[in-house]
Each structure stands twice: as structure tokens, then as C-alpha cells.
Amino acid sequence: MRKSQINALAVLTVGLVLGVIACKPKNAGSAVSGDAAEKVYVAPGKYDEFYNFVSGGFSGQLSVYGLPSGRLFRVIPVFSVDPEKGYGYNEETKPMLNTSHGFVPWDDLHHVEMSQTNGEVDGRWVFVNGNNTPRVARVDLKTFRTAEILELPNSAGNHSSPFITENTEYVVAGTRFSVPPDDVNGDVPINSYKQNFKGYLSFISVDKNNGGMNIAFQIKAPGVNFDLSHAGKGKSHGWFFFSCYNSEQANTLLEVNASQKDKDFIMAVNWKKAEEYLKAGKGKKVSAKYAHNTYDDKTHSAKSEIRSEVVVLDAEELKDICYMIPCPKSPHGCDVDPSGEYIVGSGKLAALIPVFSFDKIQKAIAAKDFEGEYQGIPVIKYQSALHGEVQKPGLGPLHTEFDGKGNAYTSFFVSSEVVKWNIKDLKVVDRVPTYYSIGHLCVPGGDSKKPFGKYLIAYNKITKDRYLPVGPELPQSAQLYDISGEKMQLILDFPTIGEPHYAQAAPAELIQKNSVKFYKIEENNHPYVSKGEATTKVVRQGNQVHVYMTAIRSHLSPDNIEGIRMGDEVYFHVTNLEQDWDVPHGFAIKGANNAELLIMPGETTTLKWVPDRVGIFPMYCTDFCSALHQEMSGYVRVSPAGSNVPLLFSTGKNMPAADSSKAK
């Protein structure tokens, strides 16, 4: 081939490549600019600037990422069992997953809300909701563990949850699937929805010292689908706003039948007024069955208590608690700006975003500027509550977060983009594509009075061609945008666990200093703790055998156990004697229909094992702990039922008969 021909071919090739790029404007090459790598690079040994707590969706767990690197640090088990950590498998954590339906090993975790003081993120706890079997959980940011789970009676599809008031006075939980209340006969025709189905909103009080949760009251509201919510703040503190769809009250083919009306509602709830009614004795005690599970860091154990009563306020009877604000069209997100004045309703089938004014809502209520009632709740006139509409923002608005500089950022599922707009003049400032079909979005502190701005994270439902293919199920993903300038800039993609719904983020410095490094062995009040090897033992109580065991680098004590018989239930209570950061030990035994134990320094956890056959069963440490980790093992001998092999246990003493002189 002649040189000129080669050159021509090269030009042609470049042209073709350019042509392909030009035809595909939404590819990564055109969306990411040159300094993106610099902005997300966190050098080895350096820390990220923010913690990002991301819902794990149908994994039931909460994931913890660093920003701006997008590195995954931890998956905190909350509503689903986690064999890696023994969560829901060891005896200590099984009660955490107890419900009125018994042990439930899975849920669908959608939303994440960090505790606040004076409307600012305080870094103490993260609240998350369980959507399927309605529950709210509290994760303690000292230990990054689930500390408490509270079930919600009279509820189904706990979706508009767990949003909080500005001093974490309450966590709310509104029911997405209205159902007949628990204390009446629920054996009714499904198409009697309009007569029999109700929507309940739970207000869970939070103890400001220890975070303890309690259902202070429930509001009985019309049977609709309560979707999302946010508390008022600043001037609107004392109010809560819930979006609701299906004001048609359809019970079948909701896709069509719940999309009939031009407008559904945002329900404004005056919870201070509800508190007054509660004090005045207007609440009705009704019977209900729900579990309250708490984990104690001193006994290293959870307990589950079934409660039997809840106080209900009826929104229809007590007229001035709830007000409906018409909102186009099947509203999803319901977000309040940092000043507390503007409430943004995102009608997921609408092509505009209505922004309501708290002051105007108050005026309308005072003037009884109502267009009528919906199921006994006053309906404020749309125009009387409206600050204005963002026109032609995009298709399918879902959620809005704020940067504290007067801007709002709304996600658009259908048109796959984030749109930045000015809260006051409602003008669109900027828009960026997402890859693809964004659901929630997050700005650090973005639903508080003091957003930290700087970054925006998009949580996408579909990734298609963004990552190497891994079979039919692809990772869902997050995308990080730099929002420090006028224009948003895409700087990073990272895959997520499960399905990311809502997420929140906070500066690392608020959280990292409080992190527990180990549990003090002196403060271990576990009933089966062994404080030192001298206290290890094996105790038989009928067919239950309790092994009081210790783990330290690098042996288990006792490591030889004989005298276990078929029909026994063996409980290994393993105490990790280490008192240093980052030295967990693991424990597993062959054939256990169970998971491993993963025991933090100073902690005691228990593995239940029911041997299924006679023989020798090795046990070992599963977490590489030292140069002699492979030596950290032992044997258990199982004899037939009724055998007279004596119960024996020891470490370093059970030598062969001929060698017994060597043993000391």
C-alpha cells in the first residue's frame, strides 16, 4: 500500500470515529471534562471528605461510601440477614429481625435520614425504613450497627418514611398501601377499599439522649397512597408534608386507575396541634401488635418485645390537624427548602414542578380559603397555596434537594436528567444528563437547614451500557457531580449494592471521631462472657451444652471438646479477648446449618449448632488474624446419643497417651 493511501485511510478512520461520537452525544467522553479525575482522586492513605449513607433497596441493607472517591467502606445489615457478619444468624441478633409475623429475614430498605439538631445534620444516627413489613430502624454511627428496629401497626408499604423533624423529635412513617386497620376484621372484599381501607401516619418519638424510639401517636387519614414526606423547618417547624397519590382510591390496575385525576394531594400535618390533642386526651388507644427490638452494646445482645397498643388521632374528627393541598399529578417527592418556606411537590406524571409557599398555606388556612373537603379533610385552593410553577423543567420529576445557595436540584426519571433551578424565580439554571433513569438524588445535608453543597449524587435505576456486562442483572449506580460552580459537572460513576433509593451524606469530621474502636472487656455484660481463659468451660444442661469459649491471637480456648452427643444443642459463646482496633476473630464449625460468627474485640457472640452425625468436627477462626491464623482451630467430638464419653474440654493439654509426659 502506498503511503498516501495509508494516510487517506487514517483520515477516513478518524472521520468515522468522530462521526460515531457526534451521533451519540450522551456518551461518557462528551460528558466528563478533563479535571474530573483530579476531583475524585483520594490518594492512598488519605480520607474522603464525606460519608455517604446509601439505601440498599431490595438488599435490605445500608451501604456506606466515601465521597468524592465512591469507595465502598461498609454494608451495614439492617433488615436482611447477613451471614458474613452473623447478623440474624447468631443468637444475639436474631431478635432484631423479630416482628408480629415472627422472624422476617429480609426487607426492602428505601430511605435514609440522618439525625439533626437545630435542623443541621449532627452525625449521631441514621434512620432507615423497611418498606415491605413496615418498620423503622436506627443505625448508631458510633458502631455502624443497627441499634433498634420498631415495627409499625396499621401500616403496609412503609414508604413515606423515615423523615425527621429538625431536632429529631419525631421520625415519621406513612403507609403507602392503605389497608383496614389491625383492630378490625380485615376479611373484607378488596373492592371495598373506599369504605374499609385507611392510611395511617406514625409519629415515632426519639429519645434525644439515647435515640430510643416509641410510637407517640398515629394519625388515621383517608385511604390513599402516602408516598414521600419531609418535615417543615425554621418557620414551618411544627408541620409535616406528605405527598399522596391514588386519591381515586383504586384497588386494581393502579397504573391506569390511580392516574385518572389531574391533581392528587400533598397533605400538610400540623403535628404540634396533634401533640395538643394528644395531651388533651383526644387520642384513642387501640389494640395493635408490633415488635420493638433493641440492641445493647454492653450485653452484646438484642431483645425483642411485642407491644400491644397504640394511640390514634382521627384526622377527620380533629379538623385542624390535616389539610390537603392539590398537587399535579401523582406526586412523589415532597421536599422542603432550607428556609422552610418552600415545599416542592414532584408530580411524577407532570411536566411542571409546583412550589408551595408555607406563608400562603398559613394564610389560606386562617382565611378558610378551601375548595371543599376530601374524605372529611379540608382542601386548600391550589392557587392560594402556590408560590409558582417551574415551567417545562423536564419529564417525570421525582425528588428535589437543595444547595443552601438558593438553588434546587430535581431528578427527572423519564428524561434522565438533573435540573438545577432557582427557588425564588423558578427559572431553570442548568441541566445535566444522567445514565440512566435517575430516581433519588442527594446533596450532602441537602434536606437540612444547612446543606454542604459541593457535590450532588444521582442514584440511577438503569445502567445498561455503563459497565462491563455481568449477565442479565446489571449493577445500579450512582453518579457524582461537582455542583460548586454555576454548571453541574459529572465527575464519577460508581456501582451500588441492591437498588439505591434515597441517600444522605455528611462531612466525615462529624462522624469519624466518634467511631468505637473496640468494646471494653470490663464492660461486657453478656450472660455467657468468658473474661479470660481461666473462666472458659463447657456446661451441660440436659441436652443443651454451653461452651464458654475465648478467642485471642491465635487460639481458641477450649480447642478440644469431647462428650457432645447426638441430640444435643450446642451453643458456642465466643468472647474475643483482644482489646485493640481492627482485630475481629471469626468462628465456624463444619456442617452448622448457620453462618459464621464475626466477633469484635471485647464482644461475645453465640453460634447455635445441632450436630447431625457422629464424628469429629473441626472448628476454626474465619478472619485472618495473625501469622498463626491457620493454627487457630480445634476439634469437637460427637458421640452417639446415650454415649458415656465424658464431657471434656481443654487447650494444649489433650496429648496422645504416649506423649502425655510432654504436656504441662
Binding site: 473474661k531 481463659e533 473462666t535 483482644e578 495473625s626 498463626l628
Partner: protein, 159 residues
């Protein structure tokens, strides 16, 4: 022979890693009686004292029985898993004679500042080469450490 080289290599490598940050050059050649001072007025590294906050530990002429009894309790929970009271090595060395082998300051620094000592102190590193398990930092309080020292003295026959 080949094996020996590998082991020697590993040890040198291990020390090199551990020393990266903390060890000033030529440290190992300095005598204990060096008179150089660091910025805060402390003497530079003294291998008899070790690295840590204890510069002098007062010992009574006779045993403080109360301290020794408390120390024995701490031993039971935090130390006995790895250390025997005889001279027999378990995971770590047996404690018999330990108060004769090391100055009280060195013991106090080693049991409260374990990681730095293992990174820096020649005697601690020599022991690590034998045991090959880094002693865990058991996060002893000052009182616990002092009580343990008294229990070690009792174990070594101080009355």
C-alpha cells in the same frame, strides 16, 4: 541453607517495613547513655527505657500486695491467653524473670505502647522474630499497667 536465606530475607524485609517512619538513621549504634535531647527535652531513644510515656517508674522496696492482686485479675482477662507464669513460651514468652530482663520503664512502655515499641525497639523486635505474632495492644489503663508490673514482680519472687 536456602531456606535460611529466605527467612533472613523475610526478617530484614519485615524490619525494614516496620522501621520506615520511626527509626532515625544509625539509632541501633547509639548507646543507652546518649546525652542528645529531642525537641521536648526528652532524651533520644533509650533502648533500656523503650518508647512511650514512662520515663521513670518508682518501685517499692517490698511488694505492694494490693496492686499485685489487682494486676493478677488483669492478667487473667487480658494476658493469660498468651503468657504463662513460668518461663515457657506459649504465644508470647513466659513471664518468669521478665522483671530481671527489662527495666520497669521498658515493661510499662511495652505493655501500653505496644505497636510503636514493636516498630522501633530492638529487644521487642528480637522477640517478635521468635514469636511471629505481634503482641496485641490490650489498651491497658495506667493503673492496670502498673498493677500488672507489680504482679510480674510478685511472680518473680518479690515479697
Amino acid at each position: 541453607m536456602k531456606k535460611l536465606f529466605i527467612i533472613a530475607g523475610l526478617i530484614v524485609f519485615g524490619i525494614a517495613c516496620g522501621n520506615q517512619k520511626d527509626s532515625p538513621k544509625g539509632d541501633e549504634n547509639k548507646s543507652a547513655e546518649t546525652s542528645e535531647s529531642t525537641e521536648n527535652g526528652n532524651p533520644s531513644y533509650d533502648p533500656n527505657r523503650g518508647e512511650g510515656k514512662y520515663t521513670s517508674v518508682e518501685l517499692g522496696a517490698s511488694l505492694d500486695q494490693a496492686k499485685a492482686t489487682e494486676g493478677e485479675k488483669v492478667y487473667g482477662v487480658k494476658c493469660s491467653g498468651c503468657h504463662k507464669l513460668t518461663d515457657e513460651k506459649l504465644v508470647g514468652p513466659g513471664w518468669k524473670g521478665v522483671t530481671g530482663r527489662h527495666k520497669p520503664e521498658w515493661i510499662m512502655n511495652f505493655i501500653t505502647n505496644t505497636d510503636e515499641m514493636l516498630n522501633k525497639d530492638p529487644k521487642a523486635q528480637a522477640q517478635l522474630e521468635i514469636c511471629l505474632v505481634r503482641m496485641p495492644n490490650q489498651n491497658l489503663s495506667d493503673d492496670e499497667a502498673r498493677n500488672l508490673l507489680e504482679f510480674m514482680r510478685k511472680n518473680d519472687g518479690v515479697k
